[in-house]
Amino acid sequence: MTTTLLAAFDILLSLTLLALAAAALTSAEPRRAVILFIAFGLVLALVWARLRAPDLALAEAAIGAGLSGALLLAATRRAKAHTKEGASGSPEGQP
């Protein structure tokens, strides 16, 4: 009984993980992709907790999802700002 339940849990987790990964990787909109990536990281942390790796779950949640996500989000924000201003960007680009 528990084994079946566990197996179902395993399958559910893995499918979610793969689906999130696929969604993050195929999303053309940067911000959306990054948010999906963060969600992916959090689920990954959950999976690793399931695999008896709590240290890693913590690290993945904090670093892999959290900080990497924050870095990427900041980049999307900058990119957006850049595309807004960059329309009039001068070609010489030298200070």
Partner: protein, 226 residues
């Protein structure tokens, strides 16, 4: 044509690779490797000065890996600094965010300290603690603090190398004492690891926060002008 390649040919090739990989992983996992290093590593955890096996590996068995890893972090930070000054700060966050930050940041710092201490016997350790510190910096940056709460450049530089410095000095002192590089005496292991981890936590924390800013701190000129 490129669409055909990227959506049909490439996936087909990757699928073939995937089949090979899964097959070989199956062979590898069902082969005769048995317990691998697990039993040996677990059996000797009591001698390492900490009881969390992962910390034993990270800070004792394979401490040298961790030293180099801190060097990777430093390289990334120095690389980021070499690419130019930080982007202009964000707009100051709203009142609510401000209020949250006032609460949250001290909490994160406390949690980091706890994480560092607890890493000796439970999940946690320098990396997780450092990550929490780094998150605190990110919070501050998001709330509009231009330097993400980071100290002056001179202190920032000191903090960012603290982990490597602690590692190297401990390693060299032990070497000179005749024990060998990074060979802790069992009775001191706990404290040496804590010392190194403290340095590493601070280094990781400030490095991640500084990396989030994405460039040299903008007070470079005033602090470090020749």
């Amino acid at each position: 044509m490129t669409r055909f390649v990227s959506l049909v040919l490439l996936p087909l090739g990757l699928a073939a690779i995937g089949v090979v990989l899964i097959w070989t992983f199956y062979l590898a996992a069902t082969g005769e490797a048995g317990a691998r290093l697990a039993d040996l590593a677990l059996a000797r955890v009591p001698e390492t000065g900490v009881s969390n096996p992962v910390t034993s590996v990270l800070l004792n068995y394979r401490a040298y890996d961790t030293l180099l890893e801190l060097a990777v972090l430093l390289a990334a930070l120095l690389g980021i600094w070499s690419l130019g000054p930080a982007a202009p700060g964000f707009q100051r966050g709203g009142e609510i965010l401000q209020g949250m930050v006032d609460w949250f940041v001290p909490l994160l710092i406390l949690a980091a300290g706890y994480m560092l201490w607890v890493g000796a016997y439970a999940p946690g350790g320098a990396f997780q603690a450092g990550a929490l510190l780094g998150s605190a910096g990110v919070m501050l940056a998001l709330a509009g603090y231009p330097s993400a709460g980071l100290p002056s450049e001179r202190l920032l530089r000191l903090l960012s190398i603290l982990g490597i410095l602690a590692f190297c000095l401990v390693g060299l002192v032990l070497m000179v004492l005749g024990l060998g590089f990074l060979t802790y005496p069992p009775e001191l292991a706990k404290w040496l690891i804590l010392l190194i981890e403290t340095g590493a936590t601070l280094a990781i924390g400030v490095t991640l926060a500084a990396a989030y800013l994405g460039g040299r701190p903008d007070h470079t000129s005033e602090v470090d002008a020749p």
